[in-house]
């Protein structure tokens, strides 16, 4: 019975601020003094647990699926490319990857791997932005500091820039220290979502954008003002779990959303911009690398459309006594389907897991086929090249490789093995396989003698 009376107490307790926090408090420990349950979950993102297609063990993807080595030949991703793990590791994993230790990278990398608001703002103030560090981030001055400093730090070398930060993403990056409301703080996201709002892509999962579009458009779309709380529960993740590139000399992190979030709209953006990530070492194609487009794929799925946010599945509520809070141990929902899924889908754990497995297994099979076709095409181009094919003869096959590989990689680099939008992922892979095989046909039709 002591249990009962304790819980009645708990139910009545309000949050006590046991330590002061403000816009300069990057250390999560300080926040943890007032919000111990959230902090406890947060630090437990160091846990390592595998699921069939995901989980948190940083295995080498290149060994797991050797087709990737062929696909990324000539690019840093062919050196070291791992399964991602919990937020606790983001900064150290970035510092230690051979993509950084063996290749030169810019400070831009930091936008998504650190608690960087204070670093950005300090750099902004140093570069002449108005106001002071304790101004609210979303105030006019705060924003000016942020955006200025962001561009400064992007342009630095990685080694220089990384010295300016200490923590992985932290409370301050997601929460207003005063109200504790969730907020979005990543400059590239603020720019990107504005561009998306102006595009014509349909976004039924973001009613606030659809509202803004119908409105006067006298000011730009601003998620921190316009988005609903439920939308914010996804946008806060969409700050980092997205495809990106580094634009221009200044290496400004940029989200290619001017035409929309779908795979071919992003491709069009890159085509129009004349963007290429690297020249493929074997085939000479101008290739693109996709990176973690979780937000984009989720956007095409039925969950997004039904208003189900990233946090609903990845930060489900947890109950301790009468208190309910968001689980800050962000990880695979398959490790806790009862809390993540069963509030909406009242089935047994086994049934829920089996539904996910059915979807993921189908995706995996198609993904294998799409990657196989892409690698077949790469091999075919290389052979033709070695046999003396001209650039003119290889133009069409190379263009098809770019398109096919972009699609296969889009699903491979996305981290839910198709779950976030099963039919859309399948559609993308069907296109990938078609384009890659057409590329092989184009090579054969070019009729190079062996």
């Amino acid at each position: 019975w002591s249990n009962v009376s304790t819980r009645k107490d708990e139910a009545r307790r309000d949050v006590l601020r046991l330590a002061p926090i403000d816009e300069t408090t990057t250390d999560p420990k300080e926040w943890g003094k007032s919000f111990p349950r959230e902090y406890d979950g947060y630090i437990r993102t160091v846990d390592v647990e595998r699921t069939k297609y995901g989980g948190s063990e940083n295995i080498q993807k290149l060994d797991d699926d050797p087709k990737l080595r062929a696909m990324f030949d000539g690019y840093a991703f062919a050196i070291d490319y791992r399964e991602e793990r919990g937020h606790a590791y983001m900064l150290s994993d970035q510092r230690e990857t051979e993509r950084v230790t063996k290749k030169k990278q810019p400070g831009a990398c930091l936008q998504c791997h650190a608690s960087n608001l204070v670093a950005y703002r300090e750099a902004g103030i140093a570069a002449g932005a108005p106001g002071k560090l304790t101004d609210g981030l979303t105030s006019k001055d705060g924003m000016a500091q942020l955006m200025t400093g962001f561009e400064k730090l992007c342009a630095l070398s990685y080694d220089e820039a990384t010295k300016k930060v200490q923590h992985p993403v932290s409370c301050l990056d997601c929460h207003d220290p005063e109200s504790m409301a969730v907020r979005v703080t990543r400059p590239a996201f603020l720019n990107g979502i504005r561009a998306l709002a102006k595009s014509e892509d349909s976004v039924p999962h973001f009613p606030s954008i659809e509202r803004w579009r119908k409105g006067a458009r006298s000011s730009e779309y601003d998620p921190n003002k316009d988005a609903s709380r439920q939308e914010m529960r996804s946008m806060v993740c969409g700050q980092c779990h997205v495809e990106y590139y580094f634009k221009g000399e200044g290496k400004v992190v940029t989200y290619p959303w001017d035409d929309g979030l779908k795979v071919e709209q992003i491709e069009k953006y890159y085509d129009d911009a004349g963007w290429t990530d690297w020249k493929h070492a074997q085939s000479g194609a101008s290739a693109l690398k996709a990176q973690h487009p979780e937000f984009e794929l989720w956007s095409q799925g039925i969950h997004a459309r039904s208003g189900v946010s990233c946090a609903d599945c990845h930060m489900p509520y947890k109950r301790e006594g009468a208190l309910k809070f968001s689980d800050h141990q962000v990880n695979s929902p398959l490790l806790h389907v009862a809390r993540s899924c069963e509030t909406c889908h009242p089935y047994s754990d086994a049934e829920v897991l089996s539904r996910v497995e059915t979807i993921q297994a189908r995706t995996k099979k198609m993904l294998d086929a799409a990657e196989t076709a892409t690698v077949d095409l790469i091999t075919a181009i290389k052979k033709a090249k070695d046999a003396g094919a001209t650039d003119a003869q290889l133009e069409k096959p190379r263009a098809l490789q770019r398109q096919a590989q972009w699609r296969a990689d889009f699903v491979a680099a996305e981290n839910s093995m198709g779950f976030h939008a099963p039919q859309e992922a399948a559609r993308i892979l069907a296109e990938a396989v078609d384009l890659a095989r057409q590329g092989q046909i184009a090579v054969l039709e070019a009729g190079v003698k062996k």
Binding site: W1, R339, C344
Partner: protein
């Protein structure tokens, strides 16, 4: 629906006996039962149920759902024949108190199949006219013989999930 003592009611009877017996033996059990307003099970006031905060979600859902004006918790969750009614209440009261005290139940809490049968019978009881062509067993004797109302009308009681 005026069945004689159903198998379910008999089960309830056993549970009542168990509840009384164990309640008398274990003082702490009795304490839980009253402190957690266990006796309020015998009332029809929905607030009786939210005495347990774990019922909060269903209570909130019910307040906004379409049946708020038509039915209280017990109209749906308790058989309406006099005997079955108290049997079920006692059995639930005991089970819930125990679960709440030991904190050993799985969440999200989910209705038991036999309790869903009770609910189904209550839907049919109130809506007998409307569903008279659909509700009678057409394929008697086989498990799962009803077309469960809640498959299509799952949200009338507690609203949509979340």
């Amino acid at each position: 629906m005026n069945l004689p003592v159903s198998p379910r009611a008999r089960l309830g009877l056993a549970a009542v006996a168990a509840a009384v017996l164990l309640g008398a033996l274990a003082g702490s059990g009795a304490y839980t039962f009253s402190y957690a307003e266990g006796l309020s099970y015998l009332s029809t006031d929905p607030k009786a149920c939210v005495n347990c905060h774990v019922m909060r979600e269903q209570y909130d859902g019910w307040q906004k759902a379409s049946h708020h004006a038509h039915a209280t918790c017990n109209d749906c969750h308790v058989p309406q024949d006099a005997l079955g009614k108290y049997m079920t209440k006692a059995a639930h009261g005991w089970r819930h108190s125990k679960a709440f005290t030991l904190n050993d139940f799985a969440e999200p809490i989910r209705i038991l199949p036999e309790d869903l049968d009770i609910v189904h019978d209550n839907c049919v009881r109130c809506h007998a006219g409307l569903v008279s062509e659909l509700a009678p067993p057409q394929h008697a004797g086989v498990p799962g013989e009803r077309v469960a109302c809640t498959r299509c009308h799952g949200s009338v009681a507690h609203g949509p999930p979340r």
